[in-house]
C-alpha cells in the first residue's frame, strides 16, 4: 500500500511537468490550430537559461524561475513572429512542417553552440525528504506540484477574467469576426505564444532542479508526451491539458511499477491512438459538428 501511494506521488510530480507543457500546446492549438512542435524545445531553452543565470549571475530560485519564464515568453514570440506569422494564410500542413523545422533548429543549434553534453543543474535548493506515513516526498516534489498548480490557476484566471483573455477566446472561436470587432489578432496571438512559452520556460527550470540533468535534446520526448496529454484532455481546452498531463504522468508511472518499464513509452502512444479512435475530441474537448 505504501508503494502504491509512493507511486501516486511519483506520478503526480511527473504529471505536473507534462501538464505545464501540455498547456502551451493546447493554447496555441486553440487559437491558431497549429501544433507547435517547437514547444518542447522552449522548455529546453528555459532550462539552459536557468543553468546559465544560476551559475554565472548567481540568481536565486525565484528570480531564475521568473527570468526563465520571460526568456521562454520572448523566444515563443520571436518564433511566432519569424516562423509562423508569414505562414498564417498557408495550408496548415505548411505551418506544421515549419514547427518541426524550428524544433530541429533549436535542438541542433543548441547542440552546436553549447555541445550536446549533459550538464548538471546547480542545486540551489537543498533536497529534504519528508516521511509521511511511510511515503517519501521531497521538498522539490512539493515545490514542483505547487508551482505547477499556481501557474495553472493563474493561467485560468488570465483567460477567463481579463480583457486579453477574452480577446484570446474570441480569436479562437472566429478570428475574422474578432478582427471585425476591433481585436488586434497579431497582438493576441503573440500574447498566447508568450503565455504558453512562459509556462514551458518555468517547467524547464523546475525539471532542471528536480532531475539535475539538462541537455539540448531534453525537450524531445517530454514534448511529444505533453502533446499526447493535450490531445487526451481535449486539445484546445485548458483544464483538459492539466488533467491530461496528470493522467499521462500517473499512467506512465503505473505501467513501470507493474513491471512493463520497457513499454512505458509505447503505452503512452497507444493511449494517443485509442483516444484518436474513440474520443477524438478528448475528455474536455468540444465536439463541434462540421457544417458542410
Amino acid at each position: 500500500m505504501e508503494t502504491f501511494f509512493q507511486q501516486i506521488i511519483n506520478g503526480l510530480s511527473l504529471g505536473s511537468i507534462y501538464a505545464l507543457l501540455a498547456l502551451g500546446y493546447t493554447m496555441v492549438y486553440g487559437i491558431i490550430k497549429l501544433i507547435n512542435f517547437a514547444h518542447g524545445d522552449i522548455y529546453m531553452l528555459g532550462a539552459f537559461w536557468g543553468y546559465y543565470v544560476i551559475n554565472v549571475w548567481h540568481f536565486n530560485f525565484i528570480s531564475a524561475l521568473l527570468s526563465a519564464m520571460l526568456v521562454g515568453a520572448a523566444s515563443g514570440v520571436i518564433i511566432e513572429y519569424f516562423a509562423y506569422r508569414p505562414l498564417r494564410r498557408s495550408p496548415r500542413i505548411t505551418a506544421l512542417i515549419t514547427a518541426i523545422g524550428v524544433s530541429f533548429l533549436l535542438e541542433n543549434g543548441m547542440s552546436y553552440l553549447f555541445s550536446s553534453n549533459t550538464r548538471d543543474f546547480p542545486q540551489i535548493i537543498k533536497q529534504v525528504n519528508y516521511h509521511i506515513g511511510g511515503v517519501l516526498i521531497s521538498n522539490i516534489q512539493i515545490l514542483i506540484l505547487v508551482t505547477a498548480c499556481v501557474l495553472m490557476v493563474l493561467l485560468q484566471l488570465i483567460i477567463k477574467k481579463t480583457k486579453m483573455g477574452r480577446a484570446m477566446r474570441a480569436v479562437s472561436v472566429d478570428p475574422d469576426a474578432a478582427e471585425l470587432v476591433g481585436i488586434n489578432i497579431n497582438w493576441t496571438i503573440s500574447f498566447t505564444f508568450a503565455l504558453g512559452s512562459a509556462l514551458a520556460g518555468a517547467a524547464g527550470v523546475l525539471i532542471g532542479l528536480y532531475y539535475n540533468s539538462i541537455d539540448p535534446l531534453m525537450g524531445m520526448t517530454p514534448g511529444i508526451k505533453a502533446f499526447v496529454a493535450a490531445v487526451l484532455g481535449g486539445i484546445g481546452s485548458v483544464p483538459g491539458a492539466s488533467v491530461g498531463g496528470f493522467i499521462i504522468g500517473i499512467l506512465e508511472t503505473f505501467v513501470q511499477s507493474i513491471g512493463l518499464s520497457a513499454y512505458k513509452d509505447a503505452v503512452v502512444y497507444f493511449v494517443l491512438i485509442v483516444i484518436l479512435l474513440i474520443l477524438p475530441a478528448g475528455i474536455f474537448g468540444k465536439n463541434t459538428k462540421e457544417k458542410v
Binding site: 547542440s111 531534453m218 503505473f254 518499464s261
Partner: protein, 398 residues
Amino acid sequence: MKKTMIKKVVSMAAIVMTAGIFAGCSTAKTTTKGNQTTGNTIKIGVNMELSGAAAGYGNSQKQGIQLAAAEINKDGGINVNGKKKKIKLIIRDNKTSTNTSASVAAQLVNNDKVAAIVGPATTNAGTAEIPNITKAAVPSVSPSATDPAYTLQKSGKVQPYVFRACYQNNFQGSTAAKFMTNTLKAKRVAVYADNSSDYGTGLAKAFKKAYTGKVVDSQFFTAGDKDFNAVLTSFKSKKIDAIYAPGYYNELGLIIKQARQAGINVPIVGSDGMADPKLAQIAGDQNASKIYYTTPFSDDVAKDNPTAVKFMNKYKARYHQDAPTFSALAYDSVYMIKTAIENEKSADSVKIAKGLANIKDFDGVTGKITMNKNHDPEKPIAIEQLTKGKVSNSFDIK
C-alpha cells in the same frame, strides 16, 4: 504532361544507374583492392555520432581522436617504411543514424579515399557501415561498439575489416556477475538496463547468463529518460541486495541520485559507460557511494601506466577537463592504426587491416591490448568503487 515528366525521370534514373554499374566494373578491374596511400599524408576517416542521441559520446571520442592525431603529427607523423607521413583527419557526422552512417562510410572510402576509419561509436551505426567498408577493403576501428556479434559475420566468421578497441559485452557482463557473487555477496539482484542500445540489453543478457544468484526483477529504461522513480520504488519493495544497471552515465547518474533519495542504499553495479566524471556530478557527490563499475581505464590502474598518465595530462591541458573513457578508447583506436601501419610498413588499407588483426601487446591508455582472432581486444579489466563521488577503491578481477 505529368506522365512525360515521370517517364523522363525514370529514363534518366535508368541511365544514371547503368552508368554507375559500368563505372563500378571498370574501377574494380583497373585498380587493386583497397585504398592506396599516395603523397605525404595518410588520410584517416572519422565516421562519428557528432549530433543526435549519441552525440555526447561521439564528441568525447572526436576529442580523443584529434588529440592523438595532433600528437602524432607533432612528432612528424607515422613512420611508413622509413618515411614520415602526417595524418589527415576527415571527420564526418553520421547523426547517430544508421542510414547516414552507411552513406558517410561510402563517402569516406570512395570519395575521400581514406586508408582507415575510426568509428562509429555505437554498434547500430557501426553495423550499418560494414558492407561499404568491406566492399572497399578499408578497415575500421570502433572505439565503443560492444555487441559481441559486431565483428562477426552471420556465419560466425570474423568480419575481415571490422575491429574494436573496447571489450565486448559478454566479458564485461560476466565480470560484473562474478563480482556480485564473490565480492559483494549479493544473492538477490535487480537488473535495470538501457534498452535503447545493444550495449545495455547485451550486457544485461550477458550478466543474467553468468550470474548464479536470483535475478528478482528485470526492467528497462530508454536513453534520454529522466524519471526513474517508478521502477526504483518497485525495486525497493522487493528486498534486493544490489542493482545491476548497464548503461551510460547520463541516465545512470540520475538513477543513482533518485535511488539514494528514495532510500535505496544497496550497491549499484554498472559498466564502462558509467566511467565518466560527469556521473558523480549528475548524481551529486553525496549520493555517489557504493557505486561500482567495470572499466578498462581506471585512474588507479592508470597511475602505473605511463601512456595513460601522459594521455590524461595532455587531455586536461587541451580540453580543460578530465578525460572520459570514450576519449581514451578513441585515442587508443588511432594509435592502434598507427601501430598497424608501422608494423606492416605500409599505409594501404588492406595492409592496415592485416596489421590491426596482428596487434600484440600494444601499449594503450586502456591497458595492454592484444587483438584476438575475433578482432576483440584482450586487455585487463578492473572494477572501480565510488565513495562520495570519488574513486575510493579498485578491484582487479581475474
